[in-house]
């Protein structure tokens, strides 16, 4: 092949959940393009795009993505899909937070009973979402640092591994959780709260800024993702019969 390939900077959650393993072969079959995915923290992924080291960024932190486009680094942001965050904790659930669907209430209980909580602490999309939730709960978790609130500065998988070994609570995206193999005694305790939704967007890196960006092939990738075929492929990715991501390219507000 005459080097039909693009570099996609994405996040660990999409890679660790196995979504790309599902999508890329289909994309390649359709277009003949190799999408090389580099899975990074959200901040690092955007930075990679900013430097022109990727052709496409595919992340989940809307405000950061909009900044990226506004700064002229990206052409246009397309919403692609969402998944949801879930509160994971020990099956025994010492805080009895699993009874309600209210994530903010659950966080208040954790803080009140100083139950161990693992924060990714890496300014990833998931981490930013977590901070927003603490804010809504009126809690400054930094006060618990080193005690019940452990900020580990690592990816989703590592955070789950830590929670599994430490029997702690942790906020995770459903996709990573479902594909995660080291669940141990952990289980989903809180889910379904609207505030837990997590939107993914895809952006072509601006070829005006970085002339070597493979504009046509990158756009082909984006077009495919938001096409009915791509959206169908996303919806079709399931683990144990459960979908991990929900396509919503047609939702202009996403």
């Amino acid at each position: 092949a005459q080097d039909k390939s693009i570099v996609v900077a994405s996040t660990t959650s999409t890679q660790d959940s196995g979504l790309f393993g599902h999508l890329l072969p289909r994309f390649k079959a359709r277009t003949g393009i190799d999408a090389k995915v580099v899975a990074l923290g959200t901040g690092q992924a955007l930075d990679t795009g900013r430097r022109g080291d990727a052709d496409v960024v595919f992340v989940h932190a809307r405000s950061e993505e909009e900044k990226f486009v506004a700064g002229g680094f990206g052409v246009k942001r397309y919403p692609v899909m969402y998944n949801d965050l879930v509160l994971i904790g020990p099956r025994s659930d010492p805080g009895r937070v699993g009874k309600s669907k209210d994530i903010v209430e659950a966080l208040r209980v954790l803080k009140a009973r100083t139950l161990p909580f693992i924060s990714r602490g890496d300014r990833s999309g998931t981490h930013l979402a977590e901070l927003k939730l603490w804010k809504e709960a009126g809690i400054e978790p930094a006060a618990g640092k080193g005690g019940w609130y452990k900020s580990i500065g690592q990816g989703m998988g590592a955070a789950l591994n830590t929670a599994s070994a430490a029997e702690a609570y942790v906020l995770a995206d459903r996709g990573t959780w479902l594909s995660f193999r080291n669940k141990g005694d952990l289980a989903i305790l809180v889910q379904g709260d609207k505030r837990l939704f997590n939107q993914y967007g895809v952006i072509l890196v601006n070829p005006v800024k970085h002339p070597h960006v493979k504009k046509a092939q990158g756009q082909q990738f984006i077009d495919w993702l938001i096409s009915p075929e791509g959206q169908g492929a996303i919806a079709g990715y399931k683990i144990d019969g459960q979908p991990l991501f929900f396509p919503n390219a047609d939702d202009p507000n996403a």
Binding site: G41, K150, I152, G153
Partner: protein, 230 residues
Amino acid sequence: MPENLSALDLVLTGDPALFAIVRLALIVSLSAVLLAALVGVPLGAAIALSSFRGRDAVIVFLNAMMGLPPVVIGLMVYLALSRSGPLGSWGLLFTPQAMVIAQTILVTPIIAALARQTIEDLWLEYRDELTAMEVGPLRRLATLVWDARFSLITALLAGFGRAAAEVGAVIIVGGNIEGFTRTMTTAIALETSKGNLPLAIGLGLVLIAIVLAVNALAWALRRAAERLAG
């Protein structure tokens, strides 16, 4: 680590978080090197001095263990110390002690393999005399370690370099918990994944400066000891 600050700012303002991280990084890697030296040097010396069937295989194995992947060591220690693991009751996972354990496992073969080579080279020179003096195995070992001590420092420094720079194992067993098990290398990894590359590199330079300082100190001690030894 405070946002929007360069590593230089942190150093200049004497940032307490940075100070704690540096302290922990030094304690963990120096403890690991100390423990690894206590095991690795005698082990390397014992292999250098002995001859038995399968000795070559043991040396190959030891040399290969210099290539133990940190992530794998980290995982194994993690599984052992995890609550559901065999040593879970010790409650050591995600503590500095766990990091010392993992790094000790990582560094011991490096020190042992390099010490083996160094001591074997000296043994070639001493073998006849010590054998003729009927020096017993333990004393023989002690003599060679002592007389090779200046060359062995390089082996220890190689081990220290590995421990100080290593991130894969400590992040798994230590968990990179802010204010508790965050060391220089895990902090650098974190800033990298945040996309805060200038701070990451700044911290890297601080780490390199610290490693340099430790090396300079070790060399100064060596030179002083050499002068005393005449």
